[in-house]
């Protein structure tokens, strides 16, 4: 029998407004919490009833966009994906993700994470740029080859892994679990030929070498991705490459599109909105 009783919970919220507050401080708000209420719902209620200037990021409300990563009762989680009842506490302490600067209240400055992500080239790198821009066929990949990187592609870039990483807390040079996991995701993709370009960064201080394999990144990932595994596999790839033991294969070949007869009732694609 599900619990349908309303209960009261106290939200402890980390508030901070640059230019006004000297440092972050805690504020408390008591609200009614019906069964099924998520932390994100609770924040909306606090904002509606008590603190109209409270700031946070959220968008999809269903654990897909990765916007609402927060430190909830001491653990990085998605606010939309965390029901208050699962915290098993009448106190809900919410702060911005650690290891990032604070823009305002619960909004972390994710810029360094996305900058590191961009530097590691998280996209397919191939020589056939013309084909990538205007595809005439499909790149050949077997289901087995897909499985080598599939779980890493579930990453939603919420930053929870970066907030949980002990190395991120001390080493500003370290790229962090998300960018490194995504670099490995593309290095493992048989359609990609960019290993040598990413290696330029990965073999130095921005690479995986400072990872202690604490494994916290994988523990907190709301999507079940295992960035710690990606980082260890990346180390193996890079060391094998150094020892000339890495098997180098050319990027997946192009195959013709399926050549069945096109159905006549399929409408034509709309004109391109982006040119150049």
């Amino acid at each position: 029998m599900p619990d349908t009783r309303m209960k009261q919970v106290v939200f402890h919220l980390r508030r901070y407004e640059p230019g006004k507050d000297r440092e972050p401080h805690w504020e408390q708000y008591k609200i009614d919490s019906p069964p099924g209420m998520t932390v994100l719902d609770g924040l909306w209620k606090v904002k509606e009833l008590f603190a109209p200037t409270l700031a946070w990021r959220s968008s999809c409300r269903m654990g897909i966009c990765g916007s609402c990563g927060m430190l909830i009762n001491g653990r990085p989680r998605l606010a939309c994906n965390t029901q208050i009842s699962e915290l098993q506490s009448d106190v809900v302490a919410v702060g911005p993700l650690p290891n990032f600067g604070i823009i305002k209240d619960l909004v972390p400055d994710l810029h360094p994470m996305f900058e590191a992500h961009r530097e590691l080239m998280p996209y397919l790198i191939r020589e056939d740029l013309q084909e990538q821009d205007s595809p005439t066929g499909e790149y050949w990949q077997t289901p087995h080859e897909l499985e080598r990187y599939l779980q890493f592609s579930y990453c939603i870039k919420c930053g929870c892994c970066m907030a949980a990483c002990p190395t991120m807390a001390t080493d500003p040079q370290y790229s962090g679990p998300m960018p490194l996991g995504q670099a490995h995701r593309y290095n493992s993709d048989t359609r990609d030929g960019g290993f040598a370009k990413r290696r330029e960064l990965l073999e130095g201080g921005r690479g995986p070498w400072r990872c202690h394999f604490a494994g916290e990144c994988s523990q907190v990932c709301p999507k079940g991705v295992d960035p710690a595994k990606a980082i260890q596999m990346m180390k193996q790839d890079l060391v094998f490459d150094l020892l000339k033991l890495r098997v180098r294969k050319p990027a997946a070949r192009l195959v013709d599109k399926p050549c069945g007869k096109r159905r006549e009732d399929i409408p034509a694609a709309p004109p391109r909105t982006v040119t150049g």
Binding site: T167, T170, D171, P172, L202, E203, G204, G205, G207, W209, R210, K235, L238, V239, L242, L243
Partner: protein, 127 residues
């Protein structure tokens, strides 16, 4: 040198330590395994005659030097990682690298000299 190369050497040094620690444990605690090789005088492996016999053996001299190098590199690289966790600035980071390299080379030179001169020393001491 790039971090990748340093880390690879760190792992190799760890593997070397693993093998040589196994050898050490075999010699010190399994006296009867290869008696004519590591324990020619019988009895305890730590007895003077056995220690002196091993010191005169070229194989053991080489293993001492290799083990010393591997342990020093592995340990000092680990210490460097711990120190860099404290987020020193670029200048201090360079100083840490230089200081640990000098310390490691000095300790290795001293240890290797001891291992290399041990046969003569034990001979003079009647071993």
């Amino acid at each position: 040198m790039r971090d990748r190369t340093l880390w690879t050497w760190h792992i190799f040094a760890g593997a070397v330590i693993l093998v040589f620690l196994g050898l050490h444990m075999t010699i010190m605690h399994l006296n009867g395994t290869f008696p004519t090789f590591n324990n020619p005088f019988g009895g305890e492996a730590e007895s003077w005659q056995n220690v002196a016999a091993r010191a005169r053996n070229l194989f053991f001299t080489v293993t001492y030097v290799v083990m010393l190098g591997a342990a020093l590199y592995h340990g000092l690289f680990g210490l460097r990682n711990i120190l860099l966790e404290l987020d020193p600035g670029a200048g201090l980071r360079r100083s840490i690298n230089v200081a640990l390299s000098v310390l490691g080379l000095a300790l290795f030179a001293f240890g290797a000299w001891v291992a290399a001169t041990a046969p003569g020393v034990v001979s003079r001491m009647g071993g």
